[in-house]
């Protein structure tokens, strides 16, 4: 973009008239809340659960609590115990007491959505936290929307360039595909997400940082996104110190923002880091609401929420949401319940390996443990064959690695292994890259074809 057109845009942005809400959004706003003033009062507080009497607000309703010291805080209905509603706080408030007034505000949570959100950092309720003025021209929408119907989802056939060679070559991601990034702590999950944000070819990026440390948010903004990246991104943040409801809400809000951008015809990249912390937040709320704990203490509602979250991403006739959900696996156990459930729900999984990370193999993607379910539909027969060849060599080496390492393997006894050993340094070089490097899809495909043909000279 030239300097003058950049300047023109800057002035156009400044001078753009504020948009009035549409009749439809006014109508839905009027219908979203009770007609009169419905109030109750706090009867009991147990942990994070606030029990309210005299108020019969539906599940998911938004309520406002007014304390005796005139503080106001928002809360959400998460369940019922006998005749009492159970609320979970959305805001931190220090002086809640029995008898404090609770008012039912709306049936559900709404957030303001519009193009003005790009480049902004918001909290889980869509409020700006970047010390800039509120974005203008936003229209409020419900965050708990339904996923698109199965028949409204066109097939995914177009690969999306991620800029990451190992993904584009070995685990290609389609426009509108949903993938999980499964990783233990400290194996480069956030770095990979950063590489994806910088290297992907999406029109807009929506990132939910759920339950992250406060320090990591700023780091992610500055290091992973950078000024250029942030310009086409919306960051929704709920740090680990915030109430569970906010951590849960961040994922819903980010998804709703991505949906509205998709409905505006954009190809959106949605990243939720991490969906495990989303599940942990729901575990906290579910248990507080009195749900029975099941596997590893997760209540059944967690496993009901996961498909509702991930099914909202995907492709429609208007646009697409390509989603990456990071899954934090405890003790590198990729079979723990959340990881297991998500593996079945998503269109593929990328496993990051601690062993590779310890060998400074970045990104530490364990190709043999990972899978893109749509791969055969996204690439040509030649590329698929090339990928399979490299996979076979990797598998052959993996199966015989110990023999090779202790020197028990005699070259010549297994031609396939000999080939794998010969190409191993080149394969390794091909599958690794610096976090700042980006490769186009075309470039990666050409290199893959060369590698599969054994032409390793000059391979970088």
């Amino acid at each position: 973009m030239s300097q003058s057109s950049g300047l023109a845009k800057r002035f156009a942005d400044l001078a753009s008239p504020p948009e009035l809400p549409s009749i439809g959004s006014l109508q839905s706003a009027i219908e979203s809340g009770p007609a009169g003033r419905i109030t109750g009062r706090i009867a009991a507080i147990t942990g994070t659960a606030v029990e309210v009497e005299g108020l019969c607000a539906p599940l998911g309703s938004l309520c406002r609590i007014r304390t005796a010291s005139h503080q106001e805080a928002m809360a959400k209905t998460i369940g019922f115990r006998h005749q009492r509603s159970i609320l979970a706080m959305l805001d931190d408030v220090s002086s809640l007491a029995p008898g404090d007034a609770v008012q039912w505000i709306a049936d559900g949570i709404t957030v303001g959505i519009g193009p003005g959100m790009l480049g902004r950092v918001l909290d889980a309720l869509g409020r700006p936290i970047d010390h800039l003025e509120a974005p203008r021209g936003l229209v409020k929408v419900r965050v708990d929307r339904q996923p698109p119907s199965s028949l409204d989802r066109p097939p995914i056939r177009q690969p999306m360039g991620t800029g990451v060679r190992v993904l584009d070559a070995m685990l290609p991601c389609g426009v509108g595909q949903r993938l999980g990034i499964f990783a233990g702590s400290g194996v480069g999950k956030s770095s990979l997400l950063g590489m994806l944000t910088r290297g992907c070819t999406a029109d807009a990026i929506v990132i939910a940082l759920v339950g992250e440390r406060g320090r990591e948010v700023r780091e992610f903004m500055d290091e992973a996104l950078g000024k250029e990246g942030l310009r086409r991104a919306v960051l929704v943040v709920a740090t680990s110190d915030q109430p569970a409801t906010m951590r849960l809400q961040a994922a819903w809000t980010a998804t709703a923002i991505a949906e509205s951008l998709r409905d505006a015809g954009k190809n959106v990249l949605l990243m939720i880091d991490s969906v495990t912390r989303f599940a942990l937040a729901q575990r906290e709320l579910g248990l507080a609401a009195g749900e029975p704990p099941t596997t590893r203490g997760y209540p059944p509602s967690v496993f009901a929420l996961l498909p509702r979250l991930v099914e909202r991403a995907g492709r429609t006739e208007k646009g697409s949401i390509t989603a990456f959900y990071s899954v934090l696996v405890e003790g590198d156990d990729t079979n723990e319940p959340i990881a297991d459930a998500l593996r079945g729900l998503l269109d593929g999984h990328i496993v990051l390996s601690r062993k590779l990370a310890s060998q400074a193999h970045w990104p530490a993607v364990d190709v043999l443990q990972s899978l893109s379910r749509l791969q055969p539909l996204l690439v040509s027969a030649e590329q698929l064959e090339a990928t399979n060849k490299v996979r076979r060599w990797l598998a052959e080496y993996e199966a015989n690695a110990e023999l090779v390492e202790i020197g028990a393997y005699r070259p010549g006894s297994n031609p396939e292994l000999d080939r794998a050993l010969q190409l191993r340094p080149a394969i390794r070089r091909f599958l690794t890259q610096d976090t700042k490097q980006r490769y186009s899809l075309d470039e990666t495909q050409k290199l893959l074809a060369r590698l599969a043909a054994g032409q390793i000279e000059g391979m970088v």
């Binding site: 009169g36 109030t39 109750g40 019969c56 938004l62 303001g112």
Partner: protein
């Protein structure tokens, strides 16, 4: 040193003289003449070379001048362009904050105007709605029954409910409201109470620590809150 032999026969050519053995003698004049000729030739050659060199030098100088002129002109253009750009940028840098503040002011005043207009429109619409509903309430008592039913629905889990209405409302619609309360199902306590705190247009339901205020003023205030909330940055 070369030895020049002179032919004694002066009528013979030097070539013939060369052929005649023993008939030569040293001739310094010829030698000098030959030298002079060679010198002349050398001079002529040198003159030609100098002329050619001068012509070549002139050509090169002309070419260099042309090239230098073009390069100089291009460099000058570049320099001028840079200076113009720098000047424009400096000027822009100086003027930009002024432009920006002007545009911002324009945008802010436009935004404020629209917000004010919107507020006025909402208030006007609600005032109109209030007058229409008050007029309709007199003719259609079932509106009040509908509000009471909505309040009872909102308090469906309450064991004890008290319907509070204005004494005038109780006098006019007491029977209908009493019948409505009787149909609310299994509760411990259900009664109707008159209070001047509740406006004529509306009802209030008190129940187990909660209250449902369905007075017209409160309903319009909620509507106002919901409509104005559509554009705010808060949920």
């Amino acid at each position: 040193m070369a030895i020049v032999l002179k032919n004694l026969d002066r009528h013979r050519s030097p070539q013939e003289a060369h052929g005649a053995s023993g008939l030569t003698e040293l001739n310094l004049d010829d030698l000098a003449a030959m030298a002079r000729r060679q010198l002349q030739e050398g001079e002529n050659r040198a003159r030609e070379v100098i002329v050619a060199a001068r012509e070549e030098a002139e050509k090169i100088r002309a070419q260099a001048y042309q090239e230098g002129l073009l390069q100089g002109r291009a460099a000058g253009e570049r320099e001028a362009e840079q200076q113009i750009r720098a000047g424009v940028e400096t000027r822009l840098r100086e003027e930009l904050p002024l432009f920006e503040s002007f545009v911002m002011e324009l945008a802010t005043s436009q935004s404020k105007f629209l917000t004010d207009l919107r507020g006025t429109l909402v208030s006007t619409s609600l005032a109109i709605a209030e007058r229409i509903i008050v007029a309709r309430l007199e003719r259609e008592p079932e509106i009040l029954e509908r509000w009471t039913q909505a309040a009872l629905d909102a308090a469906r889990t309450a064991r004890n409910i008290v319907l509070v209405v204005h004494p005038e409302t109780l006098a006019m619609h007491g029977t209908e409201l009493e019948q409505l309360l009787q149909r609310t199902g299994n509760r411990d306590e259900v009664r109707i109470e008159a209070s001047e705190e509740v406006p004529v247009a509306g009802v209030m339901l008190r129940c187990d620590g909660g209250a449902i205020d369905m007075s017209l003023g409160e309903q319009l205030a909620r509507l106002d809150e919901l409509i104005r909330g559509t554009e705010e940055g808060t949920p």
